[in-house]
Subunit: 183 residues, 2 copies
């Protein structure tokens, strides 16, 4: 089965297509930038993007939105993770967290449109922010996020190691079980 | 002449209606929350909001979007100023700026829809971020912003003092000269 994934982020495409291939699906990259709304949750941003694209794309497709929620910063950068990365980056996050608790959660919400309607699948991964940036793999906040039970940051892991338990793959697992039930 | 101003922010309404009244205009408060997009500039956010509201409101109306752009933080928080205020707040900004240059610019973009179409008016105020929060007036980043040539933060000023030179009022001045030319 072929699945159309809309994203402009090559890292996200790599992680998700690698996972889908392992599961026997083919992932087609619809490389497209789209406007995201400002909202309080990753769910809302992800659904608004699906709504904005639904008339532009034929047939079933999915997209995802991901946010890093840091507890002691009231959820910052949350739904604005990509903008915050471009402006203050990991250095800014580390500075904001000096002397503060470092618990954080990565949340991915996959939104899917098929003949039956619109569906969302959520995946999260709890962990903490490291004391300094470590590792060269991945993208975004990967160099400062350590999943619970791990010693490495995401950026110190191979794609296979990151995919084993990541927020993004957990959302994809729940998406695939929907597809399997349906068929 | 009556002008319809769409905002959910009572402080913005107060500043702008006070100014308009002085200039002989009546300002009607259309108290409404609306979705904002994620974009790189205050112009884009402001225009997208106008577009989103144009079919919901009869007759001419205006709205404004404001951002604080801090040079050494690559323009952060910029178009995300209201979210950043809710999450890390002024404390977070002061922490991010420890040991860094403090130049900043406040930018307001007023967007107006009339029979002739859509129009934007921009106002900016250059200044710097104070070393600590000062003052109780105003809202948002007012306690940490000192306009060039002033000693007080916006939050240490009366509404009349702030309105004398603010980004918001500069945008409104340019809006009013458009209205006056037109009539």
């Amino acid at each position: 089965m072929k699945l159309d994934f809309v994203t402009s982020n090559s890292h996200k495409y790599e992680e998700i297509s690698h996972y889908l291939q392992e599961k026997g699906y083919q992932c087609r990259w619809v490389r497209m930038k789209y406007e995201e709304i400002q909202a309080d949750t990753t769910e809302e941003v992800s659904m608004a993007s699906l709504n904005a694209l639904e008339n532009l794309i034929d047939g079933p497709f999915f997209l995802e939105d991901t946010g890093l929620y840091i507890k002691s910063l009231n959820g910052f950068p949350g739904p604005y993770s990509s903008y915050v990365m471009k402006s203050i980056g990991n250095e800014g996050i580390l500075k904001l967290l000096e002397g503060m608790p470092r618990d954080a959660t990565f949340i991915t919400v996959v939104s899917f449109r098929d003949q039956k309607g619109k569906h969302q699948f959520r995946g999260e991964c709890k962990g903490g922010i490291s004391m300094e940036m470590r590792g060269k793999s991945g993208f975004g906040y990967d160099p400062i996020f350590i999943p619970d039970g791990e010693k490495k940051t995401y950026a110190e892991m191979t794609l296979e190691e990151k995919n084993r338990n990541s927020h993004r793959i957990r959302a994809m697992e729940s998406f695939l079980s929907y597809l399997q039930e349906k068929s």
